[in-house]
Subunit: 157 residues, 2 copies
């Protein structure tokens, strides 16, 4: 029996709600619930700047790399290439990035930040930092540092 026949991803979106006591020891549930809460908070911040979280991901990578083709961009962010096309369409339409031809390979389009995109980067950083510190506000400064360290360790592993 496929357990997914009737049922599906449960969103937990909108999640500032209390957690049932019996689920508090469930690390994964609490972890996911917290992560979704963070994403919701960040989405709300970014919406004011006219974009959604994965668009920020693209821009951060371009800001680091300068220029990148769509396939590599998809790989870096683990987004499939068809979704990346739509993501870039939207981001280009907003004027934050542009596609240009690769002189060495006419199949390839190189993506880069526009001046408007570059100008947005500091605002993106502030939006993210604001969200992070709001989200982490129940923790002490030491705990916050420790949390960052542990997450980094997990994600690097």
């Amino acid at each position: 029996m496929d357990p997914k026949k009737h049922v599906f991803h449960i969103s937990l979106e909108g999640t500032t709600l209390p957690t049932h006591e019996a689920l508090i020891p469930h690390f994964g549930y609490c972890f996911m619930k917290s992560a979704l809460k963070f994403r919701k908070m960040l989405s709300e911040e970014l919406a004011r700047l006219g974009l959604i979280p994965p668009q920020m991901g693209v821009m951060v990578i371009l800001s680091d790399a300068g220029t990148m083709n769509q396939i590599r961009l998809s790989e870096e962010l683990h987004i499939d290439k068809a979704t990346m096309v739509k993501l870039l369409d939207a981001t280009e339409e907003s004027g934050f990035v542009r596609r240009k031809a690769d002189p060495n390979d006419r199949r390839v389009k190189l993506v880069e930040l526009t001046a408007k995109g570059k100008a947005l980067m500091p605002k993106l950083k502030r939006a993210r930092e604001k969200t992070e510190s709001e989200f982490m506000s129940p923790l002490t400064k030491t705990e916050l540092k420790e949390m960052r360290r542990l997450i980094t360790k997990l994600v690097r592993a």
Copy 2:
């Protein structure tokens, strides 16, 4: 302009993949990526027992509460009542829970674990603990305890 016109939730599912260096300082990205990795690992464990994560949530709460109506169950898990219907249909079909009439209010259906459902609980617990320890394996014992404590603190806030 609605930034969601073209683009959508990006899944990051399947995420044992490396993280771009520029995104490592992005706490939320790493947090979400880790959480999705955990969910994927748990889903794979639970699939062998014939269920998906939110079904485990229902069963854990019923195991704690004994009996609960569908509306309260939806509230506890922050799943809307229509989705809960389908979730319970699947879980009942698998024989882990049953619905019975509430003698005091003929609109209400009380949900409870069956004997088969009760018998599954220890296996669910083992599946979860196995996933947790695998997921946390890059951390030391002390770090693991600290991680649990910090997540609990965040989710309780």
